[in-house]
Subunit: 731 residues, 2 copies
Amino acid sequence: MKWALAFQDEEKFRRREQEHPERELEHALSSKYESLNYEISENQLYRDEEGNPDHHMKLWHRSRNRWIVCFLIGVITALIAAAIDIMVHYSQQIKFRIIIKRLLSKCDKETDLTGAGCMWTVEIAWMCYNCLLVGVAGFLVIFWSPVAGGSGIPQIKCYLNGIQIPEVVKLKTLISKAVGVACAVGGGLSAGKEGPMIHSGAVVGAGISQGRCRSVPFDTGLFKEFRNDRERRDFVSAGAAAGVAAAFGAPIGGVLFSLEEGASFWNQNLTWRMNKNYNIWEVPLFLMVGIIGGLTGALFNHLNSKMTEFRKKYVSNKWRRLVECLLVAAISAFTGFITLFLVDDCQPVGVNPNITEVNQMWCKKGEYSAVAKLFFQNPEESVKALFHSPINSFRPWTLLIFSLEYYLLTLWTFGLSVPAGVFIPAILTGAAWGRFFGIGVGRAFPNITGIDPGKYALAGAAAQLGGIVRMTISLTAIIMEATKDITFGLPIMLVLMITKWVGDIFNEGLYDIHIDIQEIPILGWHPPKMSRNILAEKVMRPDVVAMERRERVARVLAVLRATSHHGFPVVDRIEESAHSSLPDYGHLKGVILRSQLVTLLEKRVSYPFPSRSQNFFTSTLVHLLNLYRLFAFNKKQQDKSVDSLGLTMSDELCWMDLEPFIHPHPHRVPLNASLSFIFQLFRGLGLRYLAVVNDENKLRGIITRKDVARFRERRSNRKYQVQELYIAEDR
Amino acid sequence: MKWALAFQDEEKFRRREQEHPERELEHALSSKYESLNYEISENQLYRDEEGNPDHHMKLWHRSRNRWIVCFLIGVITALIAAAIDIMVHYSQQIKFRIIIKRLLSKCDKETDLTGAGCMWTVEIAWMCYNCLLVGVAGFLVIFWSPVAGGSGIPQIKCYLNGIQIPEVVKLKTLISKAVGVACAVGGGLSAGKEGPMIHSGAVVGAGISQGRCRSVPFDTGLFKEFRNDRERRDFVSAGAAAGVAAAFGAPIGGVLFSLEEGASFWNQNLTWRMNKNYNIWEVPLFLMVGIIGGLTGALFNHLNSKMTEFRKKYVSNKWRRLVECLLVAAISAFTGFITLFLVDDCQPVGVNPNITEVNQMWCKKGEYSAVAKLFFQNPEESVKALFHSPINSFRPWTLLIFSLEYYLLTLWTFGLSVPAGVFIPAILTGAAWGRFFGIGVGRAFPNITGIDPGKYALAGAAAQLGGIVRMTISLTAIIMEATKDITFGLPIMLVLMITKWVGDIFNEGLYDIHIDIQEIPILGWHPPKMSRNILAEKVMRPDVVAMERRERVARVLAVLRATSHHGFPVVDRIEESAHSSLPDYGHLKGVILRSQLVTLLEKRVSYPFPSRSQNFFTSTLVHLLNLYRLFAFNKKQQDKSVDSLGLTMSDELCWMDLEPFIHPHPHRVPLNASLSFIFQLFRGLGLRYLAVVNDENKLRGIITRKDVARFRERRSNRKYQVQELYIAEDR
């Protein structure tokens, strides 16, 4: 009878989902994301292990290995970042030096585009090459590793927040991310390689620290002590930091995350030395730039989220998605080409030293095309040009048209099924309109000298990026490190703050929007305001599946089959309730993990009689039980893993003594604890679950991370409200 | 009978102290430091307040005020730092330009020191001036504000860790810190102004955010919403960050703390641009520098801790301490003077541009004294000279002698009763021996060019500082920002890591040593290793003083008088125990704070019968109760505060209903929770106390921060052990 509880419970979960059809479909949390577990299960075996005389040695080895792993993470992340850079470089070299230059040399550039078909040949070759590269990127993402699409920062943010995003730190994700981003950037998309580099670093961190790779499969047998969620998170965080350092040449920005854990490494391909100064009266102008950045950023996020929803609905088919990638590649190439032709902005080479042949295009000998300089270089080079070129290097309208086009292209590109970041495109867009703004200021106040549009380009870059991603601390660090000068620290900070204020009036940052769209149950930094009157009773799920300290194998099996829970509270007594369909649980005694139960079943740690299992287990068992077992969370695999244990009917009649294996003091809150209190426990301690007990310490419910994440702060008309989402299955 | 419990308990505390006379006196925690309370007491009134319609407005005002306060903190901290700089500058100007120059001009520098008494006149004038300034600094610290002595970083570290250090963020501390450090540095002590600037920033943060000043007393009535420990800590942290930024011109180092909270500000007086590069084969040499730094740093810390203990024993008298200050001032001045005379290191002015007249001293016209350049400039200038001067600017022996002397002087100065930091002295010492090391390397490998001793001076500076304070993250950030170049990031990081490894073999960082010496109950970053077998039962104090939900005024008064506890658990029932002298407590119902009890008594919220106080309290009471009341924690004042309420005999017979005022869900752990679990709760959530309950949620004891801090990790011979300190009263 008691054994049937699990099934009954499961049905109830289902019913619960169907009970609220009136709720809007848009606001839900997906049930496909499980939480990571950062808590250590301190069972009796674990404690005994600490008394073991060679435990000291283990602690030493662990701390030594931590340094080794961090060093390796730094080096390998840097190598991968360098490899991406090299791939991008050569793919562009092939494009510019070989394809374009050879074809161009055959053309008579003085004739009209319509007149000579030759220019069309160049354009088509250009498009085809870009489409080929972008096609490879799209293919990798769409058909091999979907999680490698996009910038990867939202996924890593969620992972570090404690959410298990399937496949996010796998080797195949790394490969398709690295190759894909090189193809996407090399293929002329309006895409950055920074986000993907950070994601790559995170994968490296996860892979090396585990000393094995599931995809190949390949197990070095090393670093077994790091095979748990807690250690892995730390290494993923170190890897992401190494990725930041590698991508931005911003070691402080990156190192501040990871230094205490170990070494780091970086290259310096993104440094814009600013040797300029600003005047105090320019600060209001910078603030205006910040406001523009906030507005355009909020608009970007709004349009991008609409576009993502559209994409979700209508570009659902895999081939359609590939076609979209190719379409964007072609249009990106075409836009550059047509702008180049229509906007006649030829500048004498004399004023600017870094001119390659490609920049000449339709211009006369001794001149170069400012548009080509913006469109057809490495984006990093274009940014440098916008910051540092002399005052007349770009005509204002060139800048405006370019920034508008690039803004729209970036809008379309972000969310495409290729690995693509938004950092550099946003910086480039902002630098272009910032420079335009600066030129405008110079013309408005012709009597004042010292208005260098390059300064406004920097402010615009910061504003556009800040308006889209809404970070302040790390962006300031990254931009200041990239400009290598503290002089602009204050204006950049001000710009970023204004930008954030303005942008936050309308919507959230781009990454958060994408996290929302993917229905990932992330927890913010602070509990929702006005959440002190929402009590544990309301937050918890009362239909909890608990176990007694001694259970029949059959009941354990039934529970494992019927539920996909990661852990089960253990109580001293389960009784049927007189007034409720839910059972009456006794005092909370601990928690046992699914992985531990499966291991116990696998090792047949069960007895014919419900007695205590004295001295039955040996100290080696602790290794088995604390082994880091990654469970696939979809139903099929999990059923398989229980059924594949091959338990016989007689096995099922045996009894298990769970007591030595339970974590004896799980976190618990009383029924009247407030949501904000619960939130702080989850956030401060990285919990996965929390038991809710009544005044007598009897189990009354359980709160998981998702239950907490359901409650979101919404602000409207100066009022704070708590919005309650529901958890959607099968989405 | 129940009322007598409090007294009985108190006696037991006393006995407990005396029970363990065998414990060494050196290892104890002082009972004079109370914890701060970062938890919000969510009583019913507080929750009702959230339902109040104008609560939204309050949230808006609070968030606006937060920005205003942060902006003010930044500006005022920067002004104070600038004022300190200006005071130092002018005191040195007076010394060099007026006193020394005038007197020197009368002397015949070519004659011997012994020959002409004139030079002695200069020396004595010099000493007197220095002693005068240092005397002022010492007087301020010794007779007015003792907590202003030293660098202030250990105190701020403890404050942010959650410990109430009396007077640490008072106005008078700020005044004597700022004036004192200017006098100490101006008075030629081997002292830095960075630590005191950070401390000053922290005081500014505390003062402004509270909108009032107790010392004057002066209350603007503003920012009342920030008058609690939690908010104050955040602002103190922002202030300290502003102090870092102001002291080091290192906004990222500082801003990373505070940016999300608000604006920051800085000046740029400490920037050492390095336009050099290093070779890969130099890395092992840098590592050697790191090892030397680790060893000399560990020796420094060891000697300084011995010296501090000596000082504690023998320089206990106030006047003795003042004499010691004067002695150090005189000896510092004398050392410089005598070295200048004995070490004959005259350099032609030609090779170095920044030579003032003071630097000439005994040298011929057209020459300057390298010793004077080291001893008699601003230390920052000396550091710059060591980093940037051409290869032959200093003779090696000059450097060695200088670094040795400065090392010893710094050793003696740190811990003296004047405000004095250790950053710049350590950097200067390290830069001197680092440059010496660099010259040695150059001579050892005469065939290799490119060995610039300036690079080794930088590495030495980092190593010496790292060896003493053992920070890695923030030091790297600060040094890299100060050198304004990422090129040296990697070697500096390596040097700092090696230094930390080497130093940590021998002892802890200087700040931690001083925290230990002062017996402050600080919690580290991680729980002590091997602490999973120490259970809550052992950590807790079983002799807890609890209350029922309805209590007689007389019993509340008795408890308040007899104990100095900050909060009291509330249970549903207190009964005498059959088997123990301790009472049997019922189910844990909540916690009530001392400040709330005093306010309730003050407002006479009591009734003649033990009934529920329906509708008796109004919403305005919530303000009274949540008012931030700072309690003096020594016995006398606290008795006064209860007795001064003027309660009559008939008042004492009344009953209080505590229920609406209790925090209904305090953090609790079961008896079998491990120390490491408890530690993580305290550290992760900033708790002040934790209730320990049995399996039925009945109160069994209480754990305070001090009880947790008692357990320290000690490592010997590759074994980790947990050392248990005891809490000493009246020390």
